[in-house]
Symmetry: C2
Subunit: 320 residues, 2 copies
């Protein structure tokens, strides 16, 4: 143990930094042991990969002496820290040595993880799943991310790709998904899919309160307009939400049948939709998770910084 670590949790002792890299913001936390001692957010630069690395490095420098840095990324990465397929992050769509570039700037070891697997790890260790050994994490947002934990560890699988719950097929003849498949959970339950369903109702001229909500301008529709209209009983908003809940319920029932979790934790930028999705989601889960049986579906315990907390925690997981 280094002198810094032996100094314990006093001011100035080294921290583990967790960064949650998103398309619009870099959320961060500084962890000492399992305590969040600082947290914040910075805008994601739009001028290229180097600028993104510089912005992350600036957060790291401000955090003080570092034991390690974990970065949760919205996409894929290789074990050597090369990111790829971060389609939502300006300048990082292609292959980029993100881990090495950041480590060079901050002088501390850097480990990459997928953002939804980071969320799942945080909820497993410190959040709504901390009493569980078998847990499923789902993030609702622009996409549907996920992670599965078995026997107390988040599953990585071949090439760190396990956990893509949102790309299960629920309608073999369904709409084309960004992944290239048809009828994925994501084509029903992601924010863009829900907005598209609401836009259809407005555009087809039916009697829906969504029209007044957006002033007749479908590009002004927001997820909150749809959930609010559904809560108020608008049948078209309700239909969009229920179709999302059923699709998510089918996907989660499949996961229950495959890994038999003790709990499902829901987070992500659209996590507030859980309660309006819950009736259709839970009815579907109950009917379709057989013979394994359904399990409780709960809201995330760590709030919007769960992904950053999980990214920090990944630096302490054994390499596999």
């Amino acid at each position: 143990m280094s002198a810094d670590r032996a100094a314990g949790v006093g001011a100035g002792a080294a921290v583990t930094l967790g960064l949650d890299l998103g398309g619009t913001a870099i959320k961060w936390v500084a962890l000492r042991e399992e305590i969040v001692v600082a947290s914040g957010s910075a805008p994601t630069p739009r001028s290229g990969a180097e600028a993104v690395v510089e912005a992350m490095a600036a957060v790291a420098v401000a955090a003080g002496p570092l034991e390690a840095v974990g970065v949760g990324v919205p996409g894929l990465f290789d074990p050597d820290g090369t990111s790829h397929g971060l389609h939502n992050v300006p300048g990082l769509k292609g292959r980029y040595p993100l881990g090495a570039a950041l480590a060079g700037e901050v002088g501390a070891p850097v480990r990459l993880a997928n953002d939804a697997r980071s969320f799942t790890l945080a909820e497993l260790r410190l959040g709504a799943g901390k009493a569980d050994r078998h847990l499923v994490g789902v993030t609702l947002g622009t996409g549907i991310g996920g992670g599965v934990a078995v026997d107390g560890r988040v599953v990585l699988g071949r090439d760190n790709r396990a956990g893509e719950l949102g790309h299960q097929t629920v309608d073999p003849q369904g709409a084309l998904c960004g992944c290239g498949n048809r009828g994925c959970v994501e084509t029903f339950a992601s924010v863009p899919s829900i907005l598209a369903g609401a836009a259809r109702a407005v555009l087809q001229g039916v009697d829906t309160s969504l029209r007044a909500a957006c002033g007749g301008v479908v590009s002004a529709l927001t997820p909150v307009m749809v959930t609010a209209a559904a809560a108020d009983g608008d049948p078209f908003a309700r239909d969009v939400i229920d179709r999302a809940g059923v699709a998510l319920g089918i996907g989660l029932a499949n996961v229950c049948n495959i890994i038999a979790p003790e709990r499902i934790v829901v987070g992500g930028g659209f996590a507030a939709a859980l309660e309006i999705l819950r009736p259709s989601l839970e009815e579907t889960l109950r009917r379709r998770a057989r013979p394994v049986g359904a399990c409780p579906v709960v809201a995330a315990g760590l709030g919007q910084h769960a992904g950053a907390v999980g990214a920090a925690l990944w630096t302490r997981e054994p390499l596999r």
Copy 2:
């Protein structure tokens, strides 16, 4: 280490017995270390639970000195060795203290496991998946069983129920499954589902070679008649097989997206159908396993005794 074990692998040294309890036969192997030193099969008695236990005990006595006995069961069980829901085994549909009853007869520790999870463990340790850390096992037969292995261990999940790959929903409005759900993989790809599809073709009077194959008597249809007719190009047999392959492909693509295995191993009583199912199965897997990517699908390496081998191997796994 006991004196018996120290005596090594010579004749008379204790063996680990693996029993694969099926509706019509009890298959068994005797393992010394990882070598099958004897194997066989006995009919499953139809006169009740006690007779089934006696038949298993008779196999055990014939096998000689026993270190432990593992029993693979076609259904559910509690950690204390109580079986339930063995719908295909005469006398064992309800709750029965199978482990304790057999242990009392044979004087050795008895451990229960699910039959498809036993198959998966055997293929992971000694069969077609022995080079893999992340593996999926599928058994084709009266039902569609399964198991998933992560980081070199078969996943058990809550109440030992993980691995029910055959009860994933692939058609939300599909036929009612024995499990109570609609449109499970099993409603397309199990032997009864394939026979029902063939029977429909014969009964609706279309031009299919299946009619001549069964002499017009649909109850005489066999799985081999359907796979042979499909191989010969009969369009109705081909359609039944392709629908089975697509459904299995969707289920396996979902599993790829969830756990990112290195390989999928196919076994069970209807495993010979893999090659006729392969074109539709693999095309579906390729198109739908995104962004994780497909993996090779291979035939089981251990043959019809894989389940019994896995049942024996379970006795050496840590309890969790």
